[in-house]
Each structure stands twice: as C-alpha cells, then as structure tokens.
Assembly symmetry: none
DNA sequence: TATGAATGAGCCTTCATTCAT
DNA sequence: CATGAATGAAGGCTCATTCAT
C-alpha cells in the first residue's frame, strides 16, 4: 500500500525536486541526476515520467505558475483604503509570496532561458504576464479614477511597478549570492527597505 | 583552408563574432568553434588571441561596455543644465548606445548566467556595475546638492534608475522576440516612449 | 554497441587494461580511450569507475604495488633465518612479484614522468617508496641488531638494495627490448643470476 | 657579417636550447616553441633546421653523447694506486662530470623514452653503454689481476658499479626535485656522501 | 632565410539518454 | 515499474606543423 501511494506521488516529488534544482542552477546547468537524487529515485525513473529534460522543465513551469491571480484579484476588489497603500501592500505582498520564494526562480528562469524555448515563454506570457499586467492596470486605474494619481498612460505606467520587481528577482538570482541588492559600496540592502524605497519614489511620481 | 594573415584585424573580428554568439546563445551554450567560424578562422586561431572562452567574454565586455565609462563620466562633468534633463538624457543615451544594441545582450547574459560563472559575475560587477552605480549616484547627488531633488537615500534611489533599464533589457532579450515591451493588450510599445514614461514618473518621484 | 552489465568485474578489467597501456605507452601517451577499448567498454564507462586518468593511474598503483606491503611486512615479521638469506629472498621475490611482471612498468613510468606529474610522483612516494624504504630499513636494522651486518648508516645503505632493483627495471623497460641486462659483449644475462650476483656482492659488503 | 656567423651558429644554439628543455621537461612535455624561444629564434626557424621534434631530439642525443671515453681510458691506463681508490675516484669523477651535469639528463631521457625510439636506444648503446661497460670491466679486472678483488664474474659485477649511477640519475631527474636522494624520513642526502657510501659497501663486497 | 599567424587533429572529460535486468 | 550500468556525442583547449609573406 505504501508503495502504491509513493508510485502516485512520484511525478510530484520529481517536480518539486526539479523546481529546486532548476532555480538553483538554471536549465542548462541542471543535472537530471541531481533532480533524481533529490527526489530519491534513480535517473532512469525520471525518464520514465518525463521523456526529456526539457519536458521536465516545462512540467515544472506549468506546475508552479498556476494562477494565484484569482486570489489577488479578490483582494483587490475588497480593498477599501487609499490606492497608495494598495500599491505598497501589493509590492510587499508580492515579495513575501513570490519574490522571496522559489517561485521567483521560475520567473528568472523564463527570462534567462526563455529564448531557447519559445513555447515556454509564450506559456508564461499567457499565464503570468497578462493576468499580472491586468491586475496592476486595475490598481493604477483605481488611483486615477479616485483622483489620487495623475492621469497617466496606464499601459506605460504599469512597468514602473513591474520593473523593480523584475529587477530584484534578477538581482537576487544572479549578482546577489544572498538575497538582496547591494549598495554601491558593496553592502547588502534589506529587501523590504529596498521595496519601500522603490514604492515611495514611485508613488510620489504617480500622485497628482 | 585559406590562410589569411591579418593579425591586427583578428581581435576585432573575433570580438564582434563573439558578441553576436554570446548574445544569441548565452555563455554556456556558446561554442567557441562557432565564434571562430563566424569570424572566419579556425578554432585554434581564436585561442591564439584569447586564452580561454572566459577571457574572450571578458574582452567582449570591455570592448562593448566597460570601456565607455570614461566617456560618460566626461559627459557628466561637462553637463550644465538641470539634473532632470540630465537623467532624461542619460536614460535615452543609454538606450541608444547600450539598450538598443547587442551590448545589452551582455547584461542579460550576466544576469542569466552569473550564478553559474562567478568569475564572470565578479568581473562584470567590477567593470560595469560599480562604475555604473557610481555615475548614477553622482547624478542623483548633483540633483540633491542643487536643491532639485529631495534628500533621498541615494544608495536606494539609484535602483529606481537602474531597474527600468534592467527590465527593458531582460524583456527585450527574453519575452520580446522583437525589441520592445508589449502593452497589456499585447501591442508593442515604442522604446523611447517607454523610457520617457519611466523617466517622467521617476523624476516627479525624485523632485522636491 | 553491446551493453553488458558487469559492474563487479569492470574495475578489475579496466585496471588490467590500464596497467598494460600505461606500461607500454607511459602516462602522458596513454589514451583513456585505448584503455577503455582494451577493457571492452566505452570511454564514458571508464569515467564511471575512475574520475580521471590520474585516479585511474593511482588505482593501478594501489592494485599492483602499494597494496602488497602488508603481506611483505608480515613475511618479514615471521622470518627466522639469517638476515643475509632474508635479503636474498627479498630480492628474488621482488623480481618474481614485481620486477618480472608488468608492475615494474609502473615504477619505470613514475621515474620517467614523475617530474611532469608531481601528483603522480608524490602519490607513488607515499604509497610505494616510503613503505618500501621502511621495509628494507627494517631488514638492514635486523641484520645490524643481530650482529650479522656492520653498523652502517642505514639511511644510505638501503639504496644499495634499491639501486640494483631500479636499475634492472629501467634497463628492462628501455634498453632491454627483451627482459634482461646484457653483458658487455652483448649477450643477455639471466635475471636470477644477475640478482644473485648483485646480492652476493652486496651482502659481503654489508657483513661484519 | 654578424648575421652570417649567427646563421652558421643556429643549429648549435637550437641544439643547446633543446638539450636544456628536453632535460627539464622530457620529450613529450617539451614544447618546440620553448626551444625556439630559448634559442632566440622563431618556431618556424626551428623547423627549417630540424624537420620534426623527433629529429631535433635525435640530433640532441647525437650531439651530446660524444665519446669522452678516450680521455677516461687514458686516465685508467696511467693510474697507479690501489684499484679501490680507482673505483672511488671513478665514481666521484663520474658524478662531477656527468651525473651532476645536464649530460645526465640525456641518460635519463634515453632510459625514459627510449622505448618509443629504438634507433635512439641502439645509438646510445653503441656510443655509451658498450664503451662504459668496457672501461668498468677493465677496472674490475685490474683489481682481480692484482689480487685486490675476489675472482668474480666481471660481466655481472660491473652492474654493481653502474646500478648506483643509473639510480642516482633517475632519482635526481624524477623524484628528487632537488638533486639528491632523500633518506627514508624525507631528508635530502648529499650526493658525494651517498656515492661514497655506495662505493664503500661495494668495495668491501668486492675485496678478497 | 626567417617569421609567426594559422591550422586542425586529437585529448580528457561531461552528461542526457538508453536499455538489459 | 524501477534501476543504474553503459553509451557516445560533444566541447574546451593544446600544440606540432605549415605556409604566405
């Protein structure tokens, strides 16, 4: 009985292990043997469930990029305070739930190696980018509609929110061996402080 | 095969070929043989001029990015107008000279593969990031000193300028198979307009 | 190609093949591919068992020489006759078990290429030379302690035993295309006779 | 005029440089480029005088193994003291004139890589080994004839003199990064002391 | 003659994938 | 289903040799 349950769990265990290794090493540098080892199975078993390393990779993305946007959209709808607070909340929450978790590694991966795998990039675009942009656009529009923000080109302004997020993800997964941006003199910068700073400059830039 | 003797021209030809292949394939996936082929020489010839693939890459970085900071620092020193104009000029020039050229592919590469090749990351940090941060810091400090900008934490604020640059580079080299950001509805956005938008929101965020 | 699964037998087969090739070609000129071919496996398989050419060589040394000192030390401890007989026995046994076998090729190889591969030389020193010297020293000391040999400087005298061994090995593997020393007129000399001659002159030189 | 003299000197300069490099590095590890550099010419020039690396090697051996045996034979003829002194003198002189000079490197080379080049080994045999053996034989025979040494098999006994010489050469050029044997505890042993020790044990072994 | 830029075959090592058990 | 031994196609780099100048 134990065996049967494990059998069913295999793909999930492999996917979890693969997420970890892909995030740590990137696609090219990931060794399927290490994924197998972390999942506690043999290399051959991995190929039983996933026909190739690339297929494994795609499965990892599909598994982990699922839409949390329903939840976030709901939070948006029920938010009642000033839009500036909403932006602040949104950015900090994003850090907690995405930026500071392995999930951000997927974003880094897609940005880094997406060119090699166009269908993957397209998948990410549909599942993450468009819904994400949509949510941010709604927030900005709310600020404008309520007279809190200037009447700006929302299509362009959303990137003022997205850019720092992408930036901190890329930094964390490349230059920053630890998790954060380093100041010009080399000292690390605390992520919440960093995000707060970005948010304040941004919000002042947006306000009326 | 044809033996052409062109010692003086070789390094440049190799560097140009290398830039192209590195940008297209990334560091790990670049085959020195392909670089050589594109430069029209044999694999051995490449190693006559660059002792290793990593050294070749470093030379590419120096040729395309690092070497320009002297020029940019000089422009900074001789600038006389308002700092806001300076920021606008700086960002647009960056797009012309780096962002919209293959040179930006180098930055993307380092962000994508820096973790796997620490030497590469460290080199880029020393040659590009630190000088770049230094230049931006000086610009911001000038704005503060002249009473144009708020008294903000410069170490954090520099990333409000850097983030959109990194963002647009990553986007261009991964999601955007063409060269630009796409608006939420999928339409492409013209780069200068995009940068102008980012700059204006930022500058309003910085001003007193 | 044929995929035979014989994990237990592989290391031995590879070691045997490697010994042959190393002895014939030397370390640098040995191609791991040839070792693999002689062992009847692919190049990749060799690296499954030995992480590098150097490690393969170390394993060959351990298998063929280093590992025998325990046995020899035991023989020494249990020997009861005159020390002169012990020296004779020792030298003749060395010829049977090492000098006249491919194992002697290893010693020749280390002497020939040790300078180019310091790791190799150091390994051999630790695994063979030091234990070997230790054993010979004990034999000489026994002779001195029992009043059979003169009170000589043991550190120097051990080389009177080692030198003829090294000599015959080098000769066999370089000048003597066959296996033995040649007399001044060019005729071959029978190894046991040669060793006996060396031993008798030596022992008379050592006795009280 | 300077140029012409240099032109004639080229082969000699190359041979001298080659001797040095071959002795230091061995045949395989010698880079023709380094030989050329030490001779102060370009790589191409070397191939103008010697069609291949192997030909260069053979030329070096032929150049350096010339017969000094006439001189030594004369010394033998005029020696008047006890034969034991003659053996001592002979071994110490050998160390001064051969063992401790680059010339010994040739011997090491031939022993190390002679297998790959049988004609070279044969050349060495004719030019060095046979005359050398002949000289030593005459010395031993003198000792026997004068009643100083036992009546031993001279053909075998000569190797009791040769073996320590070969040994010290091999040791010096392989294990001993410096010039001498190391005692069992790792300390270096002074060559003259070493040779003296070998000689005394040997002579006691030879005496009546 | 002399040069040195250019060549290309070759080597050690890695790793995704296969397949006999 | 699971295993893990075995494969073989690359890839970075070296270096003796060639040849246009």
């Amino acid at each position: 009985m134990r065996r049967e349950r494990r059998k069913d769990a295999r793909p999930g265990e492999l996917l979890e292990a693969a997420l970890g290794v892909f995030v740590e090493k990137g696609f090219a540098a990931t060794r399927v043997e290490e994924v197998a080892r972390r999942a506690g199975v043999s290399k051959g078993t991995l190929f039983l469930y996933f026909p190739s390393k690339l297929d494994l990779f795609k499965a990892v993305v599909r598994e982990n990029i699922a839409g949390r946007f329903d939840e976030w959209n709901a939070e948006f709808e029920s938010f009642t305070g000033p839009t500036a607070d909403m932006v602040r909340y949104c950015m900090q929450q994003w850090w907690e739930r995405i930026g500071n978790t392995p999930a951000s590694g997927i974003t880094k991966l897609v940005m880094s190696e997406g060119t090699q795998f166009p269908d993957l990039a397209e998948f990410y675009r549909q599942e993450v980018i468009i819904p994400g942009n949509h949510l941010i656009r709604k927030i900005l529009q709310r600020g404008i509609d309520r007279g809190e923000f200037r009447a700006l080109n929302v299509d362009l302004a959303i990137y003022s929110i997205i850019a720092p997020m992408i930036f901190i993800i890329m930094w964390k997964h490349s230059m920053g061996s630890c998790c954060a941006v380093h100041s010009a003199d080399g000292g690390p910068i605390e992520p919440h402080t960093f995000i707060a700073s970005q948010a304040e400059i941004l919000l002042k830039g947006l306000e009326k």
